[in-house]
């Protein structure tokens, strides 16, 4: 039998830096559990995702199989596996697509999923809503949802809110061939000394209450993706020079709008045209319109929230959960088209989509 057929992969997609440790700890646990189950296992980050940046999507992998660990490492020394058995999505706004490095373009979240594979999403939204934005596949597969808020913290801090335990429980439910409930329990008991009962009940709870939907072929959202063709060295400019962006343009090959979990919404009716949002945006997203307003190129916006922070007019710029938007349509053009409709649209997206941004100082590890 060819070696490759023995190897199974778990992919963990997360928001760079904020969820770095969470993803790493989930992977680490899976490796230990798989070893206890008599298989060899290794974990590794996707090469191109390093160095990580705040909010930029990144991936972590676990490879497990019946070959020896050295061979497994050999299998894993690539940018990313061709197909994966399980995908864990640690923030539901990643369902809209991920773009970590330019040359991949905006990839569908489940690009690498195998036929019959499982995807587990952490989200407080219901499964029907998630299905609407999840890219369709040609075949049948399963989607599960764990009902938790995304756990964001800082680089040094690891937000120990049992998301890790819930993810393990969910994998055990959907794919006992990767890790089974017994081994998750044993691992938690042996490796986590504090709050162990709480952890065990988080595992059980995820296992019991996981909502799973079997996705039929072609069920879900349409997602057009064609991987960008990489230039060969003969095609590159002399000295591997990179062509500059033409004046007045933007970097078309790397839009990175998928970095955001929230997007700024603008109430043009109250804008005083002070220009502060434009000057303070670190991603050059604002375009001055002829009548002096500031329109946003959402496909380049990374959702940092600085514009909302510096805008002097209360509620003129408000950050809204990215999950509430279907496309990257620019706000100014919508407002110009129909101001009354825009206002009610604004009211509707802001309702329930706005969250207090907490100051997130780390806890010192």
């Amino acid at each position: 039998m060819a070696h490759g057929e023995d190897v199974k992969y778990v992919e963990i997609t997360y928001r760079g830096i904020f969820q770095k440790r969470l993803a790493k700890y989930i992977a680490e646990g899976l490796v230990y559990m798989a070893r206890e189950m008599g298989r060899s296992a290794v974990s590794f980050g996707r090469y191109g995702d390093s160095p990580e940046r705040n909010g930029v999507p990144a991936k972590y992998y676990v490879a497990l199989g019946s070959l020896n660990e050295e061979e497994l490492i050999g299998y894993s020394t690539r940018v990313e596996p061709e197909t994966v058995d399980v995908i864990v999505v640690l923030d539901d706004t990643l369902l809209k697509g991920v773009e970590s490095w330019a040359w991949q373009g905006v990839q569908p979240i489940n690009l690498k999923l195998k036929e019959g594979g499982a995807m587990i999403v952490t989200s407080t939204r219901n499964l029907e809503e998630l299905v609407k934005v999840t890219p369709a596949k040609e075949f049948r597969w399963d989607m599960g949802r764990i009902n938790v808020e995304k756990s964001f913290s800082g680089l040094w801090a690891f937000k120990d809110d049992m998301t890790m335990e819930r993810v393990w429980g969910a994998i055990a439910k959907m794919r006992p061939d990767i890790v089974d409930l017994e081994h998750v329990r044993t691992y938690v008991k042996e490796h986590k000394k504090d709050r162990v009962n709480e952890r065990l009940s988080a595992v059980e709870e995820a296992y019991e209450t996981l909502v799973v939907k079997s996705m039929a072929p072609k069920e879900g959202a349409e997602f057009k993706y064609s991987p960008p063709r990489l230039l060969t060295w003969q095609e590159m400019m002399e000295g591997a020079a990179v062509p500059a962006v033409p004046r007045g343009g933007r970097n078309e090959q790397f839009k990175r709008g998928t970095t955001k979990t929230e997007r700024p919404t603008v109430d043009f009716d109250t804008c005083i045209k002070c220009k502060l949002c434009w000057v303070y945006c670190p991603d050059e997203c604002f375009d001055e319109t002829k009548d002096g307003y500031y329109d946003i190129a959402y496909d380049y916006c990374v959702g940092c929230g600085i514009c909302a922070d510096v805008c002097p007019v209360k509620n003129c710029i408000v950050m809204v959960n990215e999950g509430r938007f279907k496309d990257y349509r620019r706000p100014y053009e919508m407002w110009k088209e129909d101001k009354v409709a825009y206002k009610s649209w604004l009211k509707q997206v802001r309702e329930g989509g706005v969250k207090e941004r907490v100051v997130v100082p780390g806890l010192g590890r």
Binding site: R53, G154, L155, A244, R247, E284, A297, G305, V359
Partner: protein, 324 residues
């Protein structure tokens, strides 16, 4: 003297020469300095960048967000690259190979690539009479490669090299080095050097403009809040920038032809019109200081107080001999 000072937001040029589509963190202030710098310098500019965040983030697999030419140089090579580029331009013009016109040469290097290991090259570049501007973008660590300590890391801050231990809470025990005073004290030929932070965009842009207009070797040190290395919500970048100045920790000033001018709130602070905010307000908003106890805050405050109470040039340096 400076014909084209940017007085209000309305005067800020709209066109971008460093544009969207880079791979910096959410809320990266260094990206903003780059943007201001390119904006003010305009199309006839060559930017040289030493390895660091701003190199890795702006050359993403055969794509770039630069409109003007940008050249990468290795980590410690910023000074030499600046000098070489500037000398080459002069030679080409002298030989009539290119049109005689002002072309800005700007080097953008991080704290490791400029103030730490790159400092010798920078110092060398400062001793020649070529036109070049070196901008030190200081995020107080080697944040690109996951936050290692540099000589610019403030007292007590957590980095991957200075995590608080059980025996010792404070692992970074040295005080941050002051670079601009070192440059002006050590290089008597330079006519312009300044500190800045992008939280004050007009101040930053005007300083870049002045440096380029005065010519010769010039130097700007910018303190750039970095959500990744400092550990805070990216939304608060701007607020941390202003706090660094308002607490007196990061004084804004410029050295022009032997004169020292304080800017923005620092002016009021030094003249005694503005009260410094407690430095704690700045520190407690960042995860990298989250292990601080009362004692650490007090020590930090005492060190900042000294800058204004016992230094001969308040906020700048304890010796006076270089200022006319």
């Amino acid at each position: 003297m400076y014909k084209s000072i940017i007085k209000t937001m309305k005067d800020v040029p709209l066109e971008e020469f460093y544009t969207s589509g880079h791979r910096t963190c959410q809320g990266c202030e260094s990206a903003m300095v780059m943007r201001y710098l390119a904006k003010v310098a305009g199309p006839r500019t060559i930017v040289v960048g030493a390895t660091g965040c701003m190199y890795v983030a702006n050359t993403t697999y055969y794509t770039t967000s630069w409109v003007v030419p940008w050249v990468h140089t290795q980590l410690g090579g910023s000074g030499a690259a600046a000098l070489g580029t500037s000398a080459a331009l002069r030679a080409l013009m002298r030989k009539g190979k290119i049109k005689e016109e002002p072309i800005n040469v700007i080097v953008f290097c991080g704290d490791l690539g400029c103030a730490d290991m790159g400092l010798s090259g920078v110092s060398n570049a400062m001793t020649y009479d070529y036109n070049l501007l070196i901008v030190l973008y200081d995020n107080e660590s080697s944040a690109n490669t996951d936050i290692q300590e540099t000589s610019m890391t403030p007292y007590g801050a957590q980095t991957s090299f200075s995590r608080p231990g059980t025996a010792r809470r404070i692992m970074k025990r040295r005080w941050k080095k002051s670079v601009v005073p070192m440059i002006i004290a050590g290089h008597r030929n330079i006519r312009y050097a300044a500190t800045t932070t992008p939280a004050y965009p007009l101040d930053t842009m005007n300083k870049i403009k002045k440096a380029l207009e005065i010519g010769g070797p010039t130097f700007i040190h910018s303190l750039d809040p970095c959500p990744k290395g400092w550990d805070y919500d990216p939304m608060y970048s701007h607020e941390l920038g202003t706090l660094s100045v308002e607490t007196g920790l990061w004084p804004l000033y410029e050295f022009v032809d032997g004169k020292l001018i304080y800017n923005e709130p620092t002016k009021g602070i030094v003249e005694g019109r503005v009260k410094r905010k407690p430095v704690r307000e700045y520190l407690e908003k960042q995860g990298r200081f989250s292990h601080f106890t009362e004692e650490d805050y007090e020590y930090f405050q005492k060190m900042v107080d000294e800058m204004y109470t016992s230094w001969e040039i308040p906020g700048v340096m304890p010796i006076k001999s270089v200022i006319k």
